[in-house]
């Protein structure tokens, strides 16, 4: 009866719709975010993650409205990220009903921002998103701007720094695997797991249920995030949980 490992469907939101780019190319429409959130809640998702991938400020207001609607009827933790740059952004998302906010590029630009945000809002709601790309067999670097911009920062050192700054959780995405459906980079996940004692979410590359189990058993992740396997009806969250349970992983019955 250990702490359950979490399954977190991720909703990339652009212009008020859930979208999913496959290999960064065609963006497929996956529906209305409030309806999608309702469906995953009913299937027993342990948490939901909304990532704002839009560029315009008008559309950012759309996501705040989506979070408000979801928070009024879905009573599981909601993490919201994408373009979080200031304490004012965080305050607006928390007031809309987000429980945690995910900080990515802004943390790289100004590491003190994470410390300031944790101090002001509490570590429990500060998730630092780490987009890492493998540069050597056992070395990963942080990339920003959707994986296009290198920073020269070592991903494992960065994870330690963010833990020390007061992050409550890390969201670790392999930019090599994201969108490829070839499974998590579990060497990366294991290196993160060994470096910090914060909980972390593994992300990037899930193509099937076995990948979710591997992220937990091989990658030592506390939670696994996936998008396309759920969005297009290939699998339900319930099926994913049944698979993890059969692999001996503690999960929550939530459906």
């Amino acid at each position: 009866m250990a702490l359950a490992r979490r399954i977190i469907p991720c909703l990339d939101v652009d212009g008020g719709r859930v979208v999913k780019g496959v290999r960064f190319l065609d963006i497929r429409d996956a529906g209305d975010p409030v309806e999608v959130a309702r469906r995953y809640d009913a299937q027993g998702a342990d948490e939901l993650c909304f990532l704002d991938i839009t560029a315009s400020s008008d559309d950012r207001r759309t996501l705040v409205h989506v979070v408000e609607q979801v928070a009024a009827e879905v009573f599981i933790p909601l993490t919201v990220g994408g373009g979080v740059r200031s304490c004012e952004d965080i305050r607006r998302l928390l007031n809309a009903g987000a429980d945690k906010v995910s900080i990515n590029t802004a943390a790289v630009r100004d590491p003190d921002f994470v410390a300031e945000a944790a101090e002001r809002f509490g570590s429990q709601c500060i998730v630092v998103a780490i987009d890492a790309k493998r540069v050597e067999p056992q070395r990963w670097e942080i990339f920003t701007h959707g994986g296009r911009r290198p920073t020269g920062l070592d991903a494992i050192d960065w994870a330690r720094r963010m833990a020390a700054a007061g992050a409550g959780e890390l969201l670790v995405t392999s930019m090599d695997r994201d969108g490829t459906r070839t499974g998590f980079d579990n060497a990366l996940n294991r290196a993160i797991a060994d470096a910090v004692d914060l909980p972390f979410i593994a992300s990037g590359g899930v193509g099937g249920l076995a990948d979710l189990a591997a992220g937990i058993l091989e990658g030592n992740a506390d939670a696994v995030l996936a998008a396309s396997i759920f969005h297009f009806g290939e699998h339900t969250v319930g099926e994913a949980k049944a698979h993890l349970r059969a692999a001996g992983i503690p999960v929550r019955d939530g459906a």
């Binding site: 009866m1 009024a72 509490g122």
Partner: protein, 214 residues
């Protein structure tokens, strides 16, 4: 007359979720987020939430005179403590270099020790304790009605009250045995977040709304 549920606002964390959850389970009720003594006195029941650091939490309660008020409210009506609202009711916390709490119940709040195995022979616990863990009720209480032993609730915290507590009402294992719920008189306090614990959490909130107190 419709119930009046007051959620104590003292600037510690986001109260949106908990207010929405009460509006969901008690659609007829008047759910109010407030820091005003007269409204808290007028309410049928009070929710005492809290997120963040205990030092700042206690400082704000004292500055606003809510420390004494909470004791008075608990003498009068059902009060639900949530997360920091559980930790604040005991005597002392080791967080923030040592912080005196409300002392409405005995006990101390300590940090999870690093490196403990999560389960015997298992991997080390991660801190904060974040996610869905099981709760075993340790006393019969109307707030537990319909909730089975081993029901999972959503936790997020780095400090805890040990399970060896005279008012323990629910127990959870995470490296150590912790008090996931305390109950004494009109006070029921939980370390987890019922407002984020889907069916089980909403059931607990519904039970609290129906509870007439001690």
């Amino acid at each position: 007359m419709a119930q009046h549920i007051a959620i104590l606002d003292y600037g510690m964390g986001n109260l949106h979720s908990i207010a929405k959850a009460f509006e969901h389970v008690a659609p007829e009720a008047h759910v109010q987020i407030t820091d005003r003594a007269e409204e808290l006195h007028a309410a049928d029941r009070v929710v005492f939430p809290g997120q963040g650091a205990i030092g700042q939490c206690m400082q704000r309660l004292r500055t606003q005179g809510l420390d004494r008020l909470l004791g008075e409210l608990i003498a009068q009506k059902p009060v639900l403590g949530v997360c920091l609202g559980l930790q604040a009711v005991v005597a002392h916390s080791e967080e923030n270099g040592g912080t005196d709490c409300l002392g409405l119940l005995p006990g101390t709040v300590t940090r999870f020790p690093a490196g403990l195995p999560e389960t015997p022979g298992g991997r080390a616990i991660r801190i904060p304790h974040m996610g869905w863990n099981t709760v075993r009720p340790t006393q019969d209480h109307p707030v537990w009605a319909g909730l089975a032993a081993g029901e999972r609730f959503y936790f997020v915290h780095s400090y805890h009250v040990a399970a060896a507590h005279p008012a323990i009402a629910g127990q959870t294992h995470y490296g150590v045995e912790i008090a996931s719920a305390l109950a004494s008189g009109n006070l029921f306090a939980v370390q987890f977040h019922p407002e984020k614990s889907q069916h089980a959490g909403l059931r607990l909130l519904r039970n609290f709304v129906a509870w007439q107190g001690a």
